[in-house]
């Protein structure tokens, strides 16, 4: 076992200990924020996998999260309430109540299936068309959720979802997501994906099947977004179409851009900053006295700060905080030569 592998395993151990301590000690409010943080990191890493590593600047990530979230929630929804609240489904589905893990995975697969369906036509488009078409997907999914009242409870939101998500689930899937994405990026497939991003003609000449590579990358990203959506629904115990709106698109992009497109480390950083920062801004939005200063209610302040961060990063440091660099143990240990797989396990 190399030093770096040992360090990574140790870090995971410390992380698990921290999760255990948090789960035991913190009050529900902070637990929820930590949970949201983990879900945001997952979503951002998966968005970065498509946009940063794959060059597929998708604005449809909230749609995939919504599909995963609603699918998982419908599968774990208590049978007793199902026929009352969401009576549109066929009888067998109304009688079905799955455990959490299969529901989550099916949610992820549902998001992937939509990604294949949408990706097949849309991924042929150049980057910026892709952005608009996937933003269209976000609009379509939102309109569908609002209108399919018998299946989703529409704008009311699907409430009463069992609160199955705890910090362990989130932490587990988070570590798994980061690990899988890291390994994928540094695999033969990941190299092909990045080659397509940088120069698709050259990639094609080197024998990369461009369309297939992009579609697979997009589908994988959608899968993780779907899982993140499932975790979100069972954490908050309610899903509404508003959670997956245009501003969700923005915030996801802001997290990725702030950290740096093409860096998993950056996505983690970006998601942490953009999750924690609003917690300090929200009191200002409500108005009242903050630190002894009278503040009027400032609606939308969080979004304004998000927007200013987006614009500021673009003007000052378009590569984001981490650029395309990753965290590595190597500088810490003073190792001169990278091991074959880099710094992780």
């Amino acid at each position: 076992m190399s030093q770096a592998t040992a360090a990574t395993l140790a870090a995971v151990g410390v992380f698990a200990l921290a999760v255990w301590a948090a789960q035991a000690q913190l009050n529900p409010f902070y637990l929820q924020i930590l949970g949201l943080l983990g879900i945001n990191i997952m979503a951002t890493v998966s968005l970065n996998f498509a946009a940063g590593f794959g060059g597929m600047f998708s604005l449809g990530h909230p749609a995939f999260m919504a599909i995963g979230g609603y699918t998982a929630a419908i599968l774990t929804y208590p049978v007793a309430m199902k026929s009352m609240r969401i009576p549109g489904y066929p009888e067998w589905l109304l009688q079905l109540q799955l455990p959490f893990l299969p529901a989550l995975l099916i949610g992820g697969l549902a998001a992937s299936a939509i990604a294949v369906l949408v990706g097949w036509p849309v991924l042929r488009l150049r980057g910026h068309y892709l952005a608009v078409a996937t933003l269209g997907l976000t609009v379509i999914v939102q309109v569908a959720i609002v209108n399919l009242v018998d299946y989703t409870r529409g704008a009311l939101g699907l409430s009463g979802i069992p609160g199955l998500t705890n910090l362990w689930w989130i932490a587990g899937f988070l570590v798994l997501t980061i690990f899988i994405v890291y390994r994928l990026v540094h695999s033969r497939f990941g190299r092909a994906l990045r080659a397509v991003r940088d120069d698709y003609v050259a990639a094609q000449m080197s024998g990369v099947h461009v369309a297939r590579t992009r579609l697979i990358g997009f589908t994988i990203a959608a899968f993780f977004a779907g899982i993140a959506g499932g975790l979100l629904g069972h954490l908050l115990r309610i899903l509404t179409p508003g959670q997956f709106s245009f501003s969700a698109v923005f915030i996801g992009v802001a997290m990725m851009i702030l950290g740096g497109m093409g860096s998993i480390t950056g996505s983690i950083l970006g998601a942490v900053i953009m999750t924690i920062l609003p917690q300090f801004i929200i009191p200002l939005e409500r108005g009242g006295t903050v630190l002894g200063i009278e503040v009027p209610a400032l609606n939308g302040l969080t979004q304004i700060v998000t927007a200013l961060i987006l614009i500021g990063v673009m003007l000052v440091k378009p590569a984001g905080l981490a650029g395309a660099k990753e965290f590595s143990w190597r500088p810490l240990f003073g190792l001169s030569r990278p091991s074959k797989r880099g710094g992780s396990a």
Partner: protein, 298 residues
């Protein structure tokens, strides 16, 4: 109401809507043609324009003054955004501009949200514009007629500017080949600015007209018109001026007919259809009706 007159009614409604989309689409199309940039903030420029025109309307100014105020507001807003944010990024990669425009869009929405009360607003009613206007069995309002006339006038002015003036010719040259145009002495930053001014002014026109027609204005009012304007531009062939006009009208007609003839349960998805149309067009004819095929494609 006979089937024919129902058809004609939808046709008229669709045309009116189409002219609005065309007004929004032209600005997006021109900017994309030159900078290869999707200006996500275009709809918000429209929204800011009409919100700036609202106080003028509250003073009791006639509709035409309100319209001019909206145009002025949108133009100034467009200039500010272009000058402070897009201009420094002129040479950046496309994705940088795209993200910056997303940021501007979010910023403008929420600044307006913060500065105004949450109730939806409308310009002070102009009784003349609300009067019905009959054409055989078709019933419209004067405002619909105004939309068509004003939109056509605005497009004609833009067309003449592009075809008959020095700067217009320079703009077209720029869209064709930026580096060649630069070598021929075209001052690129100045013309990019002109391009934003035209686009923003047309968006301002659309904004005030939307305000008078629908009268339900919120800080989010610009978002969907902006997106649909882009879809219109893509249908017509992005970068092409006549393309944006034709694309806008096609989109308006399509949306109206789909909503008019589909059963109610399906008609609620009107915003979704627009994007299905976009995906279809991009699949079948990515360069649109009037666009030239791009040489680089995946």
């Amino acid at each position: 109401m006979s089937e024919l007159s129902e058809f004609l009614q939808h046709l008229a409604n669709g045309l009116v809507l189409g002219f609005l989309y065309a007004l929004v689409g032209i600005g997006l199309s021109m900017v994309y043609g030159i900078l290869r940039m999707i200006n996500f903030a275009h709809g918000e420029i429209l929204m800011v324009g009409v919100f700036l025109a609202l106080p003028v309307s509250a003073l009791g100014a006639p509709a035409i003054v309100v319209l001019l105020a909206g145009v002025a507001g949108a133009t100034v807003m467009g200039l500010i955004v272009q000058w402070t944010i897009y201009r420094p990024l002129l040479k950046s990669p496309e994705v940088t501009l795209l993200v910056a425009s997303l940021g501007v869009s979010l910023l403008l929405q929420n600044v307006v949200l913060m500065l105004t009360s949450p109730q939806p607003k409308r310009p002070d009613p102009a009784p003349f514009l609300d009067q019905p206007f009959r054409l055989g069995e078709i019933v419209l309002r004067n405002v619909d007629l105004a939309i068509v006339v004003i939109a056509m006038a605005a497009m004609l002015v833009t067309h003449l500017f592009l075809k008959r003036t020095r700067h217009g010719r320079a703009l077209r040259a720029l869209a064709q080949d930026m580096s060649a145009a630069r070598m021929m002495g075209v001052h690129v930053p100045f013309l990019v600015m002109i391009c934003f001014v035209i686009g923003s002014a047309l968006a301002g026109v659309a904004g005030v007209l939307i305000g008078y027609k629908y009268g339900h204005l919120t800080p989010l009012s610009g978002f969907l018109p902006g997106l649909k304007g882009f879809v219109a531009a893509v249908i017509g062939g992005i970068g092409s001026f006549p393309g944006a006009v034709v694309g806008g009208i096609i989109l308006g007609l399509l949306e109206t007919f789909l909503v008019g003839y589909l059963p109610d349960a399906l008609a609620q998805y009107r915003d979704a259809y627009v994007f299905l149309v976009l995906i279809l067009v991009l699949l079948v004819r990515p360069s649109g009706l009037f666009g030239k095929a791009e040489s680089v494609k995946v």
